[in-house]
Symmetry: C2
Subunit: 677 residues, 2 copies
């Protein structure tokens, strides 16, 4: 039989269900699908790779209901929804402060259950605990298994991630048992009424073992280290299920995918049991979820894979071998090197980077009722890359690029900015900041002389002039956002410069969203080239912008008389990005880096003094940037580690850490000194 037709019809139905095709009648599509699927009924699974909105229960529940109806009508055994699908993941502390939303998610869940018939639906929700023993947290992260108008059983998450952007453990209690518990335990479960019944579920004579996200990430053979004592999959395997099901909400991060693919393949092969892994899609604040849901057969071979960064309803049958493998976004593939070595060859990860950020921007705007973006176009790389991403995410008509030249801005920068806007087709305005800067300077002269009369601590050299320019520009952009509906100004800072605090508070780092705050500068160069090749409109980014050495054009270099080049003020970006990479990925410290050869050193002559100076500067600047990280607008997490405040937590008041370490003899001497009293 030609299974291609199944996937063809499935894609047509997807478009109708997603509202992208309003002209086609779904009834004949459904009828034909039902007919084609009749041979595959036993063991058939619909994987609803959906994009929820955190806390918007009505929106999520209605979407779920629609897909349950669809799955029922085409005659599937089962339809799966992602982790916490009714509530939306993540929901964080909201469930504690506003418990009404937990009540609501239960109310909607119960009504959904009543409307189920022949197809089993697996729906993620926040479950209040019975809490009779008054111990632990008040909620579980659960799956409800629904059919025939009833809740059939409940599965609860045992392993709760509590690192990076994950905070499950704050208000969720780890389940003391894995797998299914009886329906009457809904909201009534605690350790005292663990049912010693079957933990797996028999549905149309196929036995399924259900787990939730992190539950499948703890295989002690596969991982060199694990976070938890128990392995829920191992537990479930004891009942010899025919299929493992895992419902997830797992965001995209650099190099995570290789691990995930290999791990899922390992599990299926190791237990000789197919694995169905469903992941949500869409972005919420700083996290962008890639979907890429998949099925491995009992030999660990990929049988099916959904699209990445798109909603899709993928029909599979892990028992009968029905599935389709959609192409993976480059950078999500398993061939991505895991070697721990810094490289400037970002090629492998650029498509993923692009889609991760595009989805991040698009969903932040859409889910928060926003529509338009305005940003400064300096003719530099950061604002250029942001402009391209915004145009692609929001539509060019919804983006306003404003060139705001000062006296330092070069003619080339102005024309590059204008050309870029024209190439992209975004709206463009030019608005010099001279008057604002002049006025501010005049006011400052007066103000500073008043302050100086009381405070004898005026800097000989300050960044005031630089900052006036950046802040004037932000003043314009926030003005536009205040005056025009649903418009958000964009913070254009990149990761390398944020590490160095090379960003102005209430200036370029201010905005409602920061698209590239987790992309290092050297990657941005590669990214710009990649976009010029891979976007439908080729070469939208003028070559001059990519070739130009970055500089904020806020100050004149006294030595050259030309605008200060950022690398001269900081250090070579290639060196800087390797320092960041070594700290984030290898947890190296000062001396480790002194002792290693950097890629930059291979290609350039670097004296020991220079290297030492750069490293000293790095740590000095990083220490005083911690505050800036804490006030950064929401941004998309892209790399495997970041400085996003929801991902990485360091007290600002740790700015005097000695990152160099101390000699033992120094320690002894210093302690003896104070021991004298």
């Amino acid at each position: 039989m030609d299974t291609n037709r199944i996937f063809e019809l499935s894609e047509i139905a997807d478009k109708i269900l997603q509202g992208k095709d309003k002209d086609t009648d779904i009834a004949p599509v459904v009828a034909e699908l039902r007919e084609l699927l009749s041979d595959y009924r036993q063991g058939s699974v619909g994987m609803a790779q959906l994009n929820p909105i955190a806390g918007d229960i009505e929106y999520n529940a209605k979407k779920i209901m629609k897909y349950i109806s669809y799955a029922t009508q085409i005659g599937l055994d089962m339809v799966l929804f992602p982790e916490l699908s009714i509530m939306g993941y993540p929901i964080e502390d909201t469930i504690d402060r506003h418990p009404i939303i937990v009540d609501e998610n239960i109310k909607w869940l119960k009504e959904i259950a009543k409307l189920t018939t022949t197809t089993t639906a697996v729906v993620g929700f926040v479950e209040p605990r019975k809490y009779e023993n008054k111990t632990g947290k008040k909620y579980y992260n659960s799956l409800a298994i629904l059919s025939g108008g009833e809740i059939r059983s409940i599965v609860r998450k045992s392993l709760l991630p509590n690192y990076s952007e994950f905070n499950d453990y704050r208000y969720i209690e780890p389940s003391p048992v894995v797998g299914a518990q009886p329906p009457e335990t809904l909201g009534m479960f605690d350790e005292e009424n663990v049912c010693e019944c079957e933990k797996t579920n028999l549905i149309n004579n196929v036995r399924y073992g259900f787990s939730i996200c992190e539950d499948c990430w703890n295989n002690k053979t596969f991982f060199s280290s694990t976070l938890y004592g128990i392995d829920p999959i191992e537990e479930l395997s004891k009942e010899n299920p025919d299929v493992f099901i895992n419902c997830s909400a797992s965001p995209s991060r650099a190099k995570k995918e290789q691990l995930k693919h290999n791990m899922l393949s390992f599990i299926s092969e190791n237990y000789g049991v197919p694995v169905v892994y469903l992941n949500q899609v869409g972005a919420i604040d700083n996290s962008s979820f890639d979907g890429s849901s998949r099925v491995f057969d009992k030999d660990g071979v990929l049988l099916a894979r959904a699209k990445s960064f798109e909603e899709q309803f993928l029909i599979v049958n892990p028992v009968k071998g029905l599935g389709k493998i959609y192409p993976l976004t480059k950078g999500l593939e398993k061939s991505l090197t895991e070697e721990k070595k810094f490289t400037l060859d970002y090629e492998n990860d650029l498509e993923r980077t692009y889609k991760t950020i595009i989805q991040g921007i698009r969903d932040y705007f859409k889910k928060n009722g926003l529509k338009r973006a305005c940003l400064g176009l300096s003719g530099g790389l950061d604002s250029t890359v942001c402009a391209v991403l915004l145009a692609d995410a929001l539509g060019k008509e919804n983006v306003f690029g404003v060139s705001m030249p000062s006296k330092i801005t070069s003619k080339e920068s102005r024309s590059d900015a204008e050309l870029l806007a024209a190439n992209l087709g975004i709206n463009f305005a030019e608005m010099p900041i001279k008057d604002m800067v002049d006025t501010t300077n005049r006011m400052f002269d007066d103000l500073f002389s008043q302050v100086e009369s009381k405070w004898d601590c005026r800097y000989e050299k300050s960044f005031t002039q630089d900052n006036i320019q950046a802040r004037s520009r932000a003043m314009y952009l926030w003005g536009i956002a205040n005056e025009f509906a649903s418009c958000v100004p964009i913070a254009t800072s990149d990761k390398s410069e944020l590490y160095m605090g090379y960003a102005t508070i209430n200036g370029d780092m201010s905005g409602g969203f920061a698209p590239i705050a987790d992309v290092p500068k050297t990657k941005l160069f590669a990214f710009a080239r990649w976009m010029n090749i891979n976007r439908a409109e080729k070469n939208a980014i003028p070559e001059a912008i990519i070739l130009k050495r970055p500089g904020a054009e806020l100050a004149i270099d006294e030595k050259t008389g030309k605008p200060l080049i950022a690398e001269d003020a900081l250090m070579p970006y290639e060196f800087l990005d390797e320092v960041i990479w070594r700290i984030e990925n290898k947890h190296e410290y000062y001396q480790d880096m002194i002792d290693s050869e950097f890629l930059y050193e291979k290609n350039n002559k670097v004296t020991k003094e220079e290297k030492t100076e750069w490293l000293n500067k790095f740590y000095r600047r990083m220490a005083t940037s911690l505050y800036k990280w804490s006030i950064l607008p929401p941004s998309v997490i892209v790399e495997s580690r970041s400085i996003n405040k929801y991902d990485y937590k360091q007290p600002i008041t740790s700015s005097h850490i000695n990152y160099k370490g101390t000699d033992k003899s120094d320690i002894v001497r210093k302690l003896r000194e104070v021991a004298k009293l």
Copy 2:
């Protein structure tokens, strides 16, 4: 014997050790103390209530060493330091990204151990796990028990808080055993080598049971609900210790103290064992620790209590009944009502509020190398209270108040601001913003007409004018901060207004620190009056400022022709603050509040329509304020619940939550509609 002399000498020594008294020779003080303490030697404990700096290991270690020497010289059995005292608490993810600091804290600890002699020192540190089984997190939160030049044993924290501002569980593994383990397990401990030795420690024939902070917060009889399955204190009690010791780092929050006092008293009485509870003092970013360390005798009666919000070395003997009870800051006392009812009577909590914030400001500045603050003085309540707090925390000479009137600013506001500055003795400048506003408006006319030609979505009524004023002022303040050394501009937003998003991005909510971001407006009125009575200089705050109805003076009310009053734009503050209080403390939702009588309703006529309108406005405005909460500068957490992003986590992308709930019949109807496909 006269024990008063012990505490008298102890206070003299404290001043010398803290560097506050550089003229007095410590030797005779030490000698006399040693003599006086000779009868109390057995069971004597020095409680070093210190103020650490997160990650500044050398600073912390040297301080610890100094007090060990002192304790040894005066002949105490033991000296205690707070939780994680060498590392500083909290240190968060820093130990993962920069493991060098963990190595460092071990190096310093080992050298400290070598310098101990007759007095046992109990020092908190981050301990790397052996990690041979490669499961769990990499670190323990531990205490080292040191004497005679050696590490005698190690105690590890079992209960790890992971709510509010606490993130212990992110990188710390809960210890599988409570109490002492042998010294050779330092860095080598895992579940496989649990020593079945004594869990309590015999020191000079007194038996001690050690625990760390949260370990003592899980008594199932005392608490109506608990977070953890085990109770470390119960475990320790099985070895019949003579004294329980708990080393903590526990920040001050409204109403927490009553609980803490009663709990510690309950534990000592329940087990018939004295409790020595040591808490750190000082502030780190958003958390302000009160100290107030104490000792309860075996009958649960308070025997000793250290000062609040101050470093102190308190000498006690829980076995022989030696101790002194220092007065508690009002608001920290156990008589604070726990009744769950909203009140405008804040009197009970104002001294604590004051000291919590003063310490928060002072330590944030000092520990980050900052010295000066500048703020706008509007003549309104928020900036006024901030100015007083800053003057008291940093010294009046280090504060610059800038009056920045616009055409809307009343004459009274200007003179009130000037009078306040004069009363406080802080520096003062007046700098009208007219030119800046005019220039900005001129630029905006040009800019907006360019934008309007492309975007057909200009608001009929916008906040652009209001925001220009607030942003011009922030521009001035950040200018001062850029031009003068170690100066921080202050964000003056209060809690009530932040809930309503009634604060300007890059305007009044911008700054390096936000002193009153967790103080509701009605409390600020009481606070201002309290400061006028309780500060050394009486009535520094002009009565007119307290009497005036708050308004941002950014816009003219069309109805009255006068500056818009905030309560007219929002709702009565008394009502608003009760909504906040009900949500934060009682987790009420919309309908709960519709159904309850508010305090404001008791004293004022409120129609059902008005109340509904206010509640609708509250939820609508709160939903769009989530972004503002995410970019707020560091601030001091004061109330029992807050919107501080390090304390409360809600996705910004949850702005469409339905806080009102849905009727069951609506749910059924809506689900049936979508089920049709």
